[in-house]
């Protein structure tokens, strides 16, 4: 197990380094001049270049950049002058995290539930209903779900607030819009994996023991079927995270995603790249946690290191 954790940790660190370096290279290859839009005298321009460190050799810049990153300093926004990006993240991340956690919990639990219901009702209308919900879910991009829910339930039926983030009722639409795709994905995987497990010999063994159907499903089927769902928790986090970009824009939630999209639209390069580094590191860390979690759930991995 220790070996497994160390191995995953090494891969994560290398990945972070690759990401950070790619971002650094990209900053240098950006088309055009970050100061081109502003009318600057040569002196101010030189000052600004010195301020951002553009006058030094690349290797020095790279070292400084890495040093700043290690200290957790992501630099300044180009658009919001003198606004450290750390500050922006500090202000906006709680909103995004709130939305993200709600979404992950709602999506995985509902998805697993739907998948189990579908698998246990093989060939009945209930299964087809679950499959239908799932396939619609993976076919609707979240920006469309978000806009449609906002229009129908918010504007037309006035069941929920149309936008902003000021209390539970405000969270319902964005959470659901953001969950739908993930929920559908989880329920599909859960259904397939439940059906796979149903055909396994050990389920027959459990039946031959005379266990009640509930105990078979609960102790033997779900526990084994849930493993593939755990493996996609990493990609799920990534999907939800990119989903927050549009959902936060649609519902005017002051989270990081909104700043990211604003950064893209304003060509605020430092902001885009710094937020990318932040997102990247966050996701790689999340993937690492999922890998470890998986190791704990599956005894075949957990014990692989201790085998004599």
């Amino acid at each position: 197990m220790t070996r497994y954790i160390l191995q995953r940790l090494a891969i994560s660190l290398v990945t972070i380094w690759v990401l950070v370096t790619v971002v650094f290279v990209l900053v240098r290859c950006l088309p055009g001049d970050p100061f081109a839009s502003e009318k600057l005298t040569p002196e101010i321009r030189a000052n600004m270049e010195r301020y951002y460190g553009f006058d030094q050799p690349l290797s020095v810049q790279y070292a400084k950049y890495l040093k700043n990153l290690l200290r957790g300093d992501l630099g300044m926004s180009l658009k919001y002058q003198n606004m450290p990006i750390n500050q922006i993240i500090q202000n906006s991340f709680p909103y995004s995290a709130d939305l993200g956690i709600r979404t992950i919990l709602f999506a995985t639990f509902t998805g697993i539930f739907l998948g189990v219901v579908a698998a246990l009702n093989r060939g009945r209308p209930l299964e087809y209903l679950c499959i239908f919900v799932a396939v619609v879910g993976i076919s609707l991009p979240d920006f469309i779900t978000g806009s449609l829910l906002q229009y129908l339930l918010g504007q037309k039926l006035r069941l929920f607030p149309v936008a902003l983030w000021k209390g539970f009722s405000y969270t319902v639409l964005p959470t659901f819009a953001l969950s739908f795709y993930t929920l559908a994905m989880v329920s599909r995987i859960m259904r397939t994996s439940m059906l796979d497990v149903t055909g396994q010999d050990y389920i027959r063994t459990a039946r031959a023991k005379g266990l009640s159907p509930f105990k078979i499903v609960w102790r033997h089927q779900i526990r084994n079927a849930i493993l593939p769902v755990v493996t996609i928790l990493g990609p799920i986090t990534a999907a939800i995270l990119t989903g927050t970009f549009v959902i936060e824009s649609i519902y005017a939630i002051p989270g990081m995603g909104k700043f990211y999209v604003l950064g893209v639209q304003n060509l605020d390069y430092t902001m885009i790249l710094s937020l990318t580094v932040f997102y990247g590191v966050f996701l790689i860390a999340a993937n690492f946690v999922v890998d470890i979690l998986y190791g704990f759930i599956d005894p075949r991995i957990r014990l692989a290191g201790n085998k004599r």
Partner: protein, 355 residues
């Protein structure tokens, strides 16, 4: 392996019903290509403490028979008809809940592949304990003790350590011991062992058979052994039932069957294996020509007729009834009919010839 001569089948008190009586069992599977008739009217009975072997080649319906006794065949796609009486109770009429009370308690099952028949995410000890606690009200510690006793009984070294291990930490032989312990832990009256040694190494096979045989005679449990291996049968069973294309073609006590095989299929089967001392067959091995019938559209008469050297017109049209050949020895073949004997003589008495 210790040579274990099969003794005589335990005698039944006259008038009491047999432990297990299967009458005209039929199992059909609906597939999109049509209906597969896996079992086509199979009948046999077993006494308490007896070891009966169902022998046949793969696809002949013996595994399906084993599983349908415990009603483990999924419905749909399968439909089962006929009668399975266990201790006088009709199993096919029981509710699923009543059936669950019997599974694991009154009869245990040992499966073919110990590699896949254990839940990979649950310690093996707990998997046995689960069977015990489902049927008996026991404290955790009492159940644990019983499980450890059982593990010792099946010859598991270091049972305390094994108790907490996961299946992937155990070898195939160890896993099969776990499955046997699981089948026996509630003290069942019947064990159904579906090819218990097929997936194991030859050396381990002998050990597992020894364990099964020992426990069976010690605990007085009846054992229904499903196998394609006549060698296994010779050492284990009291009686043999030869299955072909979903039906029993011949039943006989072990020695009787090896000495006087009375169905063309059994005779060919014996020719196709190396001989043991005291058996009728001599000479090089031979294969049975042709393939088993298509169970989507089985032949109307005798299932073996298309491959039989002695097939008669009648064989192709009418399934033969079981005719008595000797004590406890019955064979389903038209050649045993008086009119056929009159015409061809007693073909079953001819020495087995290998061609």
């Amino acid at each position: 392996m210790k040579a274990m001569a099969p003794g005589n089948a335990p005698d039944r008190v006259p008038g009491s019903p047999p432990l297990l009586e299967v009458r005209d069992l039929r199992v059909n599977f609906a597939t999109y290509g049509g209906t597969v008739q896996a079992v086509r009217g199979l009948s046999f009975s077993m006494e308490a403490g007896e070891c009966l072997a169902l022998v046949g080649e793969s696809g002949c319906g013996k595994s399906v028979t084993a599983q349908s006794l415990l009603r483990l065949v999924p419905h749909p796609p399968a439909t089962t008809t006929g009668s399975v009486r266990f201790d006088g109770r009709e199993l096919l009429d029981l509710s699923e809940r009543e059936m669950n009370r019997l599974r694991g308690a009154a009869f245990g099952m040992v499966f073919q592949d110990p590699m896949t028949s254990l839940n990979p995410t649950m310690p093996v000890g707990r998997q046995i304990e689960e069977a015990l606690r489902e049927h008996e009200r026991l404290s955790r510690s009492a159940a644990r003790e019983r499980v450890l006793d059982m593990l010792r009984l099946v010859g598991m070294p270091e049972p305390e350590r094994r108790y907490g291990q996961y299946p992937h930490e155990c070898s195939g032989g160890m896993r099969q011991r776990v499955l046997i312990a699981m089948a026996l832990v509630c003290g069942p009256r019947l064990i159904v062992a579906d090819e218990p040694t097929t997936a194991l190494d030859v050396t381990i096979q002998a050990q597992i058979l020894d364990i099964l045989k020992n426990l069976q005679s010690r605990l007085g449990t009846a054992l229904l052994l499903i196998t394609h291996d006549l060698g296994v049968v010779a050492h284990m069973a009291h009686r043999i039932a030869v299955v072909y294309a979903g039906r029993i073609v011949e039943t006989a006590p072990v020695r009787e069957l090896f000495a006087r095989p009375s169905h063309p299929y059994t005779r060919r089967l014996l020719c196709s294996r190396p001989s043991l001392d005291g058996e009728a067959a001599r000479g090089p091995l031979c294969a049975i020509k042709g393939t088993p019938p298509d169970l989507f559209a089985p032949p109307p008469g005798c299932g073996f007729a298309p491959r039989c050297d002695y097939a008669m017109a009648l064989c192709g049209t009418t399934p033969p009834p079981a005719l008595g050949v000797g004590t406890g020895h019955r064979s389903s073949c038209w050649l045993l009919h008086p009119q056929a004997r009159e015409r061809y003589g007693d073909l079953m008495r001819a020495p087995l010839e290998r061609r």
